[in-house]
């Protein structure tokens, strides 16, 4: 991002950009306070999961006039449909979508070859459905030092939230009912998804219990063969010396396609001066036009011409993950989406740690979600 902004400055010397990079841990605190009490930046990023919250309180500026006056024009045709759709809240467009960042399957090609999971050319062959996945994961789970405990795992659950939402959507479930008014985590499809994740740990024994294990580190260190993680984690694997890995679309476990993703959405604060707004739009437009640089860091660009460019399709992992862009699903688009996670994530964890049965933990979550949604 810093590189892109520097380039923008060179090409647009009349616009002064002061960029601030804030870690995600404190980002929303700072942004929220600046939007509520003043001092908000002229251009900022919102993640898809937080977008509706800020839009619902009318803290971000509708962008219809800027899109309308864009030269050369910028329309839906230039964007992948899912992130484009995401830039609207209740029919009003509030954002310029920069990217989509779905999770996907990272797999250790060396371990795959050693286990004989290869195609005709002898190259590691990633699983595409549940049967292939379980088959591969069983072959890849090994007790190499003979102490009766596996020390190499076929699969690790590195992010319960994104993995659960992916599998739940593949079975046709979601956190909320389609009208967004009630919890739906105890619905049959969600329970099926939860049970499958529980079974991976306790029945098929292909994944470690998510307790006291650094699952991502296990993948990095070659002690786990597969994980479903975000495209944005790519750099972390590339840093690992000697790790041989590749990326593929997330396997399809249920009857439907679906994969959890997020988006970085470029927004402006409400109440911004027309002059700053126009200058900000030039920056936003520039970032969108040059999103290949952004994508190299581990993103799928929202702009179709960038996504189809030879430079992007040459990025091995990004291009694989980008194959999923048509069926990416987000967190629920309701004003209280962020607050839902205080019930969603602990419920998933409780089921995976067998603190509760999937039915009990999901029913608890639904009850709490309903209570929250009913609150003033």
């Amino acid at each position: 991002m810093a590189k892109m902004v520097r380039q923008f400055q060179v090409e647009n010397p009349d616009v002064q950009v002061n960029m601030q990079i804030i870690p995600w841990g404190t980002y929303y605190d700072k942004l929220t306070l600046s939007l509520a009490y003043g001092g908000a930046p002229d251009v900022f990023i919102l993640q898809a999961a937080r977008f509706s919250e800020f839009a619902s309180f009318h803290t971000i500026r509708p962008l219809a006039d800027l899109y309308a006056s864009a030269q050369p024009p910028l329309t839906a045709k230039q964007f992948a449909p899912v992130p484009w759709h995401e830039s609207f809240y209740q029919g009003v467009q509030y954002a310029l979508p920069l990217d989509t960042h779905p999770i996907g399957l990272y797999y250790n090609t060396k371990l795959f070859r050693e286990a004989g999971i290869v195609d005709q050319n002898g190259k590691a062959k990633p699983p595409t459905n549940l049967t292939e996945f379980l088959d591969a994961a069983k072959k890849l789970t090994k007790d190499t030092n003979g102490d009766g405990q596996p020390d190499q795992w076929g699969f690790v659950i590195t992010n319960q939230h994104s993995n659960w939402l992916t599998i739940a959507h593949q079975f046709g479930g979601d956190i909320l009912t389609p009208d967004g008014k009630h919890g739906a985590m105890a619905s049959a499809p969600c329970l099926q998804a939860t049970q499958l994740m529980v079974d991976m740990i306790y029945k098929y024994k292909i994944a470690p219990k998510p307790e006291g294990v650094d699952a991502w580190l296990a993948l990095r260190q070659g002690k786990a063969a597969m994980a479903m993680e975000g495209i944005y984690m790519l750099a972390s694997l590339q840093e690992q010396p000697g790790l041989q890995f590749a990326g593929a679309p997330a396997p399809q476990f249920g009857p439907k396609q679906g994969v959890w993703g997020g988006s970085h959405l470029l927004c402006q604060p409400v109440g911004i001066s027309p002059e700053h707004s126009r200058a900000g739009w030039r920056l936003m437009r520039f970032l969108s036009d040059h999103s290949l640089t952004w994508a190299e860091g581990g993103q799928v660009p929202a702009r179709l011409e960038v996504k189809r460019s030879p430079q992007f399709t040459a990025l091995p992992v990004q291009a694989q993950f980008a194959r999923q862009i048509g069926y990416v699903v987000y967190d629920p688009q309701v004003p209280r989406a962020n607050s839902l996670n205080q019930f969603v994530d602990p419920a998933i964890e409780a089921a995976l740690l067998q603190l509760q049965t999937p039915e009990a933990s999901m029913t608890d979550a639904d009850r709490r979600i309903n209570q929250l949604l009913a609150r003033p």
């Binding site: 309180f57 602990p346 409780a350 609150r375 003033p376």
Partner: protein
């Protein structure tokens, strides 16, 4: 009886403070107020003002981003009381208080008693035991996170070595299974309590030590002449004469323990721990107010905690004043 009252006068910090300020008010007139003014301003602006304003907020539906904050009466309180996570947080907090207050005070007392016997290097030990108190909880939690690590933590390493050593000596013990200190919900609160005791024991130790040093040596001398053993001395002299200090320490430990926040916040990265076992009331208040930005709801939780702590304090002060009355 007289000796007890004397010990109370010199040993009880709260009493000596209140006596002094009352005397200042009588003799100084407006000059006294002038001296108190800087503190009063700070007190009103940064403590009383926000506290009252917090109550005002708790009666409203107040999202940080919202432009309007409609009055909702007691709806936030009602919502909190029917929110089962609020009760989980309260139960966890009560469990923590139950673990930390008696055990922590016992450790502080034992340290103070031990230090009372030390002739050489007493200051060194005092500083050493007091040291954790001055470390920020964030540092303590990060340190203990490593000690508690299930796979590579020092605590499991030592326990494992110890158990294996005992097994080699022929004791019928089963092989050591690493304890998931922070990742098993049953261990969560005891682990946090142990860490908190290590962190805070030095503070009360100083108070107990002051209390012990204020016991006139004649009593011990008399006891020695009568041939009392160490336990009898403790039971009949130290413990009863230390009671005001003990009560003071207990009251303030309870107040402090109810407000536990930093431990879980740092250990679980702002989360609630496995199965919400690390969720405490202040942490829940923080999550609602500053992560979900529902500060009306957060303020209501804060006031409920305030009511609980107030009730506890009232009971404890009642006990304290009863004791004083019975002595005078």
């Amino acid at each position: 009886m007289q000796a007890e009252a004397k010990a109370l006068d010199s040993g009880s910090v709260s009493q000596s403070l209140s006596t002094r300020s009352a005397a200042g008010g009588r003799s100084g007139g407006w000059i006294g107020w002038l001296f108190a003014l800087p503190h009063l301003i700070l007190f009103f602006v940064f403590l009383l003002g926000p506290t009252v304003y917090g109550f005002f907020i708790s009666l409203r539906e107040w999202h940080v981003l919202a432009k309007q904050h409609p009055f909702v009466g007691l709806a936030n309180y009602q919502a909190a009381l029917s929110d089962d996570i609020f009760w989980i947080a309260l139960r966890n907090t009560a469990y923590f208080v139950f673990l930390v207050v008696p055990l922590g005070n016992l450790v502080s007392l034992l340290l103070a008693l031990g230090l009372g016997q030390v002739r050489r290097l007493q200051t060194f030990y005092k500083v050493a035991f007091y040291m954790p108190v001055v470390i920020s909880i964030a540092v303590v939690a990060v340190l203990w996170q490593w000690l508690y690590n299930t796979q590579v933590g020092l605590l499991n390493l030592y326990l494992g070595t110890m158990v294996n050593g005992l097994r080699q000596l022929g004791l019928p013990l089963s092989a050591f299974q690493p304890i998931p200190w922070l990742s098993d919900p049953h261990w969560t609160m005891p682990s946090i309590a142990l860490m908190s005791i290590w962190w805070g024991a030095g503070g009360n130790m100083i108070l107990y030590l002051a209390g012990i040093n204020n016991i006139p040596p004649d009593y011990y001398e008399a006891a020695r002449i009568d041939g009392a053993n160490a336990w009898q001395v403790f039971k009949s002299i130290t413990w009863p004469l230390l009671r005001p200090t003990t009560l003071f320490c207990l009251v303030f430990s309870v107040l402090g323990a109810f407000q536990i926040f930093g431990q879980s916040y740092v250990l679980y990265g702002g989360g609630a721990g496995p199965g919400r076992a690390g969720l405490t009331l202040v942490l829940y208040m923080y999550q609602q107010g500053f992560s979900q930005y529902e500060i009306g709801y957060g303020a209501a939780i804060a006031y409920l905690l305030f009511a609980i702590v107030l009730a506890f304090t009232a009971v404890q002060f009642r006990l304290l004043s009863n004791r004083e009355e019975s002595r005078s």
